[in-house]
């Protein structure tokens, strides 16, 4: 597919991907992935080890970066976020996998003394399962999957998501609850009985 070639502008790939062009979709995913990764590294270097860099901030900066260099044809912020949130999901899951690989034994070591500690931190295995279930959910109801990408993986608030889509916060919240029901159900369905 021509638009998917490396030289094509991001704007045109975006449009093609949004129209269901699978090759464009892949190319776009790759470009955005690389871009987000680069930004994350840059932030890390800039702010030092103690910085928790907000995913939301990262995405906004990515948008600014790309929209500036691409010019007026670049998609608007809501469209960009809706797509890029899925890329971010991939980045985060990959990150969790690599972190897990680097730790002997895989799971987090929990050395609780006194101060109480919870064990429900999403680990790599769980994130991967969520990712798979999300792909499945996207086929049943793409809007719901997108809410999970934006909220869970990217940390946008209900209000921000509502503003992005021009719907009420209440509706976003309901979509979030429904998506969680679906995912929870899927994850349990995958457990051995």
């Amino acid at each position: 597919m021509e638009v998917a070639s490396l030289s094509a502008s991001l704007s045109s790939i975006f449009v093609a991907a949004e129209h269901g062009d699978a090759a464009a979709d892949q190319a776009l995913f790759g470009r955005l992935y690389a871009e987000l990764h680069r930004l994350a590294q840059r932030e890390l270097a800039r702010r030092g080890a103690f910085a928790t860099i907000g995913v939301t901030t990262l995405l906004h900066e990515a948008y600014l970066d790309m929209a500036t260099s691409e010019g007026p044809k670049f998609p608007d912020r809501p469209r960009f976020m809706a797509y890029t949130a899925r890329v971010m999901r991939g980045l985060i899951i990959d990150h969790a996998r690599s972190r897990r690989a680097s730790k002997r034994g895989g799971e987090f070591e929990i050395t609780s003394i006194g101060t109480e500690v919870r064990e429900n931190v999403p680990d790599a295995r769980m994130l991967t399962a969520v990712g798979d279930a999300l792909d499945e959910l996207a086929r049943a109801d793409a809007t719901l999957a997108e809410v999970v990408d934006l909220k869970f993986f990217c940390g946008f608030s209900f209000a921000e998501i509502a503003a992005m889509r021009g719907i009420s916060e209440r509706t976003v919240q309901r979509q979030w609850e429904k998506a969680r029901i679906y995912l929870h159900h899927s994850l349990r369905a995958d457990l051995p009985a």
């Binding site: 910085a51 985060i92 101060t115 919870r118 994130l127 919240q173 609850e177 929870h184 159900h185």
Partner: protein, 910 residues
Amino acid sequence: MARLDPDRWRTISADLDRALDMDDAMRAAWLAGLRDRDPELASELQLLLDEHRAVVLERFLEAPPATPAGPPVAAGQAIGPYRLIEPIGEGGMGSVWLAERQDGRFDRRVAVKFLSVALAGRGEQRFRREGAILARLSHPHIAQLIDAGVSETHQPYLILEHVDGEHIDAYCDRRRLDIAARIALFLDVLAAVDHAHAMLIVHRDLKPSNVLVTGDGGVKLLDFGVAKLLEDEGRAGAMLTVEGGAALTPEYAAPEQLTAGPITTATDVYSLGVLLYVLLSGRHPSGAPRRSPAEMVKAVVDSDSRRLSDVVGADGEESAAHADRRGTAPDKLRRLARGDLDTILARALKKEPAQRYSSVTALAGDLRRYLRHEPIAARPDTLAYRAGKFVRRNRAPVALGVLALVASIGGVIGTLLQARTARIERDFALRQLARAETINDLNTFVLSDAAPAGQAFTVDDLLARAERVVGDEHGDPADHVELLLSVGRQYTVQEEYAKARRLLETAHTQSLALADPSTRARAACALAQTLGMSGDLPRAEALFHEGLGDLPQATQYSLDRAFCLERGSEIARNTGAAQDAIARAEAAQRALAASGFQSALLDVDTAVALAGAYRTAGRLEDASAAFERASNRLTTLGRGDTERAGTILNNWGVTLWQLGRPLESARVLARAIAISRDQRGEESVSPMVLINYARSLADMRRLDEAADYAERGAARAQQGGNQVALGQSFFVRATIDRFKGDFAGALRMLDAVEPELRRSLPEGHIAFATLADQRALVAQANGELAHALELENRAVGIAEASGRAGHEGGDYLRVYLAHRSEIQLALHRVDEAAADAARAIEMMASLGRPGSFASTRGFAYLALGRAREAQGRRREAIAAFRSAAGEFEHTLGAEHEETRAAKKLAALPD
């Protein structure tokens, strides 16, 4: 387990939306209905809703995944004055580090807990503020929260006293402590919890891992109030989530935590009951160990706990092992548990919060009595029963009302005493303490003296007695003024304005000679309130300014400032100065926040003042939200069934009705009636509440019930000479008659109310617009269209004039316009009809928030749709009908005739 089929998911998606939007009671009723019509769908939905409970409980997907920035913290880094040493834990809440002071001033080590929650803008403020409140909690058995802060990178953290200890259950087992020793240790836990409760702080997450025992055998409670701290802002009110949405440990959660009920101190009593049960038996009260969260939820909510003596005495190796760890054998353990321990635990573990021990102290009292072999206070179920009997025997204004009243003073005392521990000026603390103790003395004296066993006494008796006590010259003149104020204000609450005024005038006069500006201000403002209520508004306003102006700006007077501003708000409301009323109520709220006190009761006061002010200004959505907040706060305080709560519910219910949300309104008003009935019996429910309820029912087309309530309300209003309520009842009954098709009856009602209105109200009052509107609707229904239009024109005219003059009326105009549109249409004046409807909708657009619904707007859309249809603008008509259907469905329910009709017009599936 079967996977969800995408097609099926899409089919039931809309029903799931609807179910998620309902509260528990509504949903249960709806599902029950659905089960008859479509059992398969109902069971699928039930499955998904169960899944939802598990989702909420587990906080599924709420902790964010680790981000590519990597682990955020490293050893050697500085957090405030502390330096991180090494990580000692990592989990869903975040990581925990051991740290020490950098400057070496103390050798104390602390734990720094980084929380992986995102706090946006205002969230940070709230986090710091609530953290500061928790930091004041200081008790030898509570791990001190030293500081709560947010790092430069916006990561919230807590600095806690570092406790090196062992979970209480493990400690007891390792030491093989016997039953008595376990109870003795548990009493230390209770002392700590009781201390926190006195400061209105609920733990919410008591369990063995939060109760440690240190090497020297001392108990330390961790994470007091932290569950609340982690609650998302803006979650309140969302029916989709469990209140207090913090991660719960289902084994130790109280039923109300799992069913979105209000969290109160009784919640901790329940968790403590579970903890004690586990300590004594080694097992969980619900039985089988290691269930899935969903099963555990069901067990906690639905099934009664098993009797302790049955559990410990069961056959089998496990029981033997548990008994052995308690230095005894199963049968001996069973004998120890049977009787009193069974009763104590059953009481603590009641599903219904109100049936549990009323406080941690009461539970501790019984455990102490058990250890001393004295008879315990709890009796299996009979006590509550007897108390109920007593109230039923003595319906009239009964002692219980007074107890509630005194309890509310007691609550304030509890709060004020905190001033000793708070970092607020010492003299302020002492003054408040003296004030509290003086009033406390009075209460004790009046109550103990006035309550010969079992004999009923009335509020009036008590106040008369208190007044006599106050009348005697008291030592300190400042104390004397305080006492006068206290009794005077109670008379105000009882609406005995003449008596209140007498006492408060004296208090005010005497206060002028005092040096303390605080007492002077309170005396002036208390008197101002009473004068405002009895109609002397100019002097009330002057006294308010006198009181407020007298107060110095310092923080130590913030509470007094809030006190005055709240009363000033009420006075402004009575003079119709809505903007002043709002400004003063908001200022009161700020003053309260600035005072540094956490008092839920005072919060309720300001919320009510604010709600009233918003209502006067026509800001109904804001008013409704403020009433809701006040109502929830009271419920959280365990005062959800007091007269005060009933009054708030009534006002909230009326506001909802004005907003065009009769469904919610009816629900809220039904609660108001239930409270009043339970407190003082059927006969003493206020006629106004009954009539308000009837009006909402009528809009729901539940006409027979509506007629019943309206008639009862009218009869009671007549008896009590309540003209306002009686007038309202005529209007409501006219509406009901009209809906029933009895137009002659409706006209009789309107004829009956008109003379009284003419006698008591000035011409141009909005009531005459309502009258004309009602007559117009009857005329329209009778087919007298020209007459109907004439009448509705009058209604619109009066409402417009009233709105222009800044009085009430604007709220009604949009409704009359919608009605006129229908009449115009019947007269084939199509363009006029469309214009009226469009204007009504435009006015309503400013009424609600995005996403809120109103049946009134539904009617306007319906009118617009019909007009557009008649104009031949079919597409616009359909759009309007769709909007109408949406508004109706949310406010009247899917089954309502208007909803069905609108859907039909919009060609939507029913």
